[in-house]
Amino acid sequence: MIEHLALKNFAAFKSLSIDFSPGINVIIGENSTGKTHLLKAAYCLCTEAPLFKKKPDTSDDELEAALTTKLLRLFLPLDDKLGKMHHQGATEQASLSARFSQSQNIALTFSKNSKMLVLQNRGNYQPYLAESVFIPTKEVLSFMKGFNSLYEKYELSFDQTYQDICFLLDLPAVRKETLHEKSDWAMKEIKGICGGRFIFYGGGKVTFKTEHTEYSANSMAEGFRKVGTLSRLLETGVIKPGVSGPLFWDEPESNLNPKLMKLLVQILLELSRHGQQIILTTHDYVLLKWFDLLMDTGKGDHLRFHSLYHNPVSSEVKVFSTEDYLKITPNPIDEAFGFLINQEIENDMGGLGK
């Protein structure tokens, strides 16, 4: 579980630090405030579990190399250069640091000419290891057949999150008896609302099966493919409440109908109640509001909203965090409704009061 992330002179951020809820974190902000950058930076620092599983005595040099490659593949900077991720106009070193739930921490720096990240600190980093998941904005079920081998061979314009998720989706399902009770419940709910389930045959081949018929995954609604992705990650045990690392999800709302949106929020809340940390970004009022309405502090829900915004004086990206929906400031999602209100007043009342 990630508790704290600090970014200095990195990508969109001059200096930003954020404290995450152990439950659900909802990140909002206008375009270009760095929501996805924030998500990817946190994911990068949470993601070296497989490395340590393969080699428990991984050295600092090996960790630096692995994280450098990961960061470059996640952000795809121009010319594949770390220096291109240095915050524009900054002169000091860039740094990324994180603190995890049992006081583990890691800190990395790089400068404009660095070829590698430099590890400044890895306090107890290794035992942190719980695999995290990043679900990118675009759904992948429609193109994952053969994607991993293509990704390894060619320079595709997809960042690493797409390869990671395709790899995780193709893992075998866990035995029924080891499936978490809430994972089983969520999968059944998703199946019920979609009228069937996605079947993963390996090699990226995916179909959608109802009681009587089997369809190509591509013929299914994109919203179904999105919740189907979540269902599969639960089925493979990649997401296992209380065991797996944070779930990062970039704009889960795209192409979800309102019915699916409510179910998705119900599932995410239920998973978080059983120890799953969730960090997501959204532009959508309905998703944001469902979280506000469905959260129940009596059930131990812990929800924190993080609003990224440009400081009007310095133009630096800053964050305002709150647990109270009505106190989210600024709230560009609600402000979108505000702009409509302004226009109606302008149309109906002209210069009155101005």
Partner: protein
């Protein structure tokens, strides 16, 4: 400038010809309402328009949020609350218009602005429902006049953004500032 204090808010109308608490209950004041009718909180008169203002300051807006209901009972309860508030705002306007008709004060277009402490999204829903039922504009081909020229539901931030000549503050804030 006309300064009006109502329901914990202070309005400063810089360009108003007149502005007063419309549902005044103080018998000693010339603007005492005194009729068995509902009344909006404030009426302000300008060169070319009247503006009726109704205020609602809520701590918890969720009881009006029908789409957010979790159970059928909850939905019915929220529908009842939303409908109650909509009707409350609607009948306040209509009674006020009638009262002003009796005062011979309906000679300019009337705009109805409700300031409610909801978020913009919920205010938009209330505004849509209220506009349909008030009604705004000519509801029938037989009508020669309109009751309401327009109707808007805004929170305090939106009010101040859209009406810079009529700034509003919470009275507690005004008092603190003065202290």
């Amino acid at each position: 400038m006309k300064v009006v204090v109502a329901d914990g808010f202070e309005f400063r109308f810089m360009d108003a010809l007149d502005a007063f608490v419309f549902d005044e209950t103080d018998r000693t004041k010339p603007t005492f309402h005194g009729a068995p009718m509902k009344g909006v909180d404030i009426v302000a008169e300008f060169d070319d328009a009247y503006v009726y203002i109704e205020l609602k300051d809520y701590d918890d807006s969720s009881i009006y949020d029908v789409p957010g209901a979790l159970t059928d009972d909850d939905r019915r309860s929220r529908q009842a609350c939303f409908k109650w508030l909509k009707n409350y705002l609607k009948y306040k306007f209509r009674d006020s218009f009638l009262y002003r008709y009796a005062e011979q004060k309906v000679d300019k277009p009337v705009h109805y602005v409700c300031m409610i402490t909801f978020d913009n999204a919920l205010n938009s829903r209330m505004q849509k429902a209220l506009k349909q039922e008030l009604p705004v504009g000519k509801a029938s081909s037989r009508w020669v006049h309109t009751l309401a020229k327009s109707c808007h539901v805004v929170n305090m931030d939106k009010w101040n953004e859209n009406f810079p000549k009529w700034p509003v503050s919470r009275l507690s804030f005004v008092a603190a500032k003065g202290a």
